[in-house]
Symmetry: C2
Subunit: 237 residues, 2 copies
């Protein structure tokens, strides 16, 4: 079974003074998160689309889904965790409680604020997760990547040909991801801002899936402006 896991746990404090988390901002007549959910809804492989939200926004999320998509028992909204990875673990616990978990249960985790994901990307994620166990959506780095340990002086400029910018989805065999996460120490968990890194730091293979330049994450007001112009041109597959 394959599940879509939509991560909407962010509190959105990088968007400046808006009254709502950024997934609820409207582009082209709909909240961003609805555009995102619709991409997964039109893909037949998913057993369920699990939306993870901060507790105080669960009812609002349910309401806008009902209003824009209508009654749909394929979508469920549950509470996220304190961190990105804890939120993913909540989705796995939900799956285990309601469907059981076997070695081949797949989760396709995706940022609620990346509405431009394509069906091709989602399909390749499902296929790669089934075949290899884990995958990450990336694009080749367009900028030179610079490393600075102290924030003042460059410590390294790695070979650009080896560098990629991570997007989502990130897809995993859920049971394996959880088992490895549970085996980590608190110190190890604290440094993990990325789910794929859970596996990478334990030496497991995570395969690459090609993303798209326009599969952007709407984080700053600047991104929202770009997103609006992208949506006007329907830059989808």
């Amino acid at each position: 079974m394959v599940f879509s896991v939509i991560l909407a746990g962010g509190t959105g404090n990088r968007m400046g003074h808006t009254d709502k988390p950024k997934q609820f901002l409207t582009i082209k007549d709909k909240p961003i998160i609805i555009h995102t959910i619709e991409k997964f809804l039109s893909q037949p492989e998913f057993e369920k689309i699990i939306v993870l939200s901060p507790a105080m926004w669960i009812e609002h999320t349910k309401r806008i889904i009902a209003k824009t998509i209508g009654a749909c028992d394929k979508i469920v909204v549950i509470e996220g965790g304190n961190t990105r990875n804890e939120t993913i673990m909540n989705s796995i616990a939900y799956i285990e409680d309601n469907y059981g978990l076997d070695d081949d249960t797949i989760i396709v985790t995706h940022d609620s604020v990346r509405p431009f994901v394509t069906h091709r990307i989602i399909k390749e994620n499902i296929d790669a997760a089934m075949k290899y166990g884990a995958c990450d959506t990336v694009i080749p780095a367009t900028d030179t990547i610079v490393e600075s340990i102290d924030g003042n002086i460059i410590s390294d400029i790695p070979n650009r040909n080896n560098m990629y910018q991570g997007q989502t989805p990130q897809s995993f065999k859920a049971k394996n991801l959880r088992d490895i996460y549970l085996s980590l120490s608190d110190t190890e968990r604290d440094i993990l801002t990325d789910a794929a890194k859970i596996l990478v730091m334990k030496g497991q293979h995570v395969h690459l899936v090609n993303g798209e330049t326009y599969n952007i994450k709407i984080t700053y007001p600047y991104d929202l402006k770009i997103a609006k112009s992208l949506l006007e041109e329907e830059c989808n597959d």
Copy 2:
């Protein structure tokens, strides 16, 4: 003395089927390269603005400068080299031939296709190059950075807090940069796609200057669309 070095040597083959290199595409009634040159022209510190162009586009570049900016002896257009670093070396040779070169001669090198650079960024580049000898304009990485040596499997996900996306300007004490470049082997030169790396690989300090998210490089048609919407809103300082 401080010189602006505008790098317009690219052949633009990533822009798809356009008849001209991308620096000549028009946004808001002017070629992109003119927007860029004007940012440096309005900054009094520069002795000269040296534009480096492929041989076959030198006359065209001169013509559009004459047409949009008018007669201006502060700007000179000369031929670039085969690589980015060879092009920078051509600018240093021009400075040496015409003005002489001392230890404090500064070059502020900038992509001709980054028209959204600000006066604040340029000023901080001049100051940092004078004070420290070299600087690079960067923004904190917004995406997770992923390393893959083979292009199939993730080899590392470095700590995002240490990762930056390189922009331009990159500014240097010209004589030091040239002397170090001349000391490199052909093999070392071949792997250098970035001027700051010339110094980094020899253990010299390159300081960071804060860029701006919107200081984008116009590389793909997607960028051109964003650039047009940014220019409409005059997202400058």
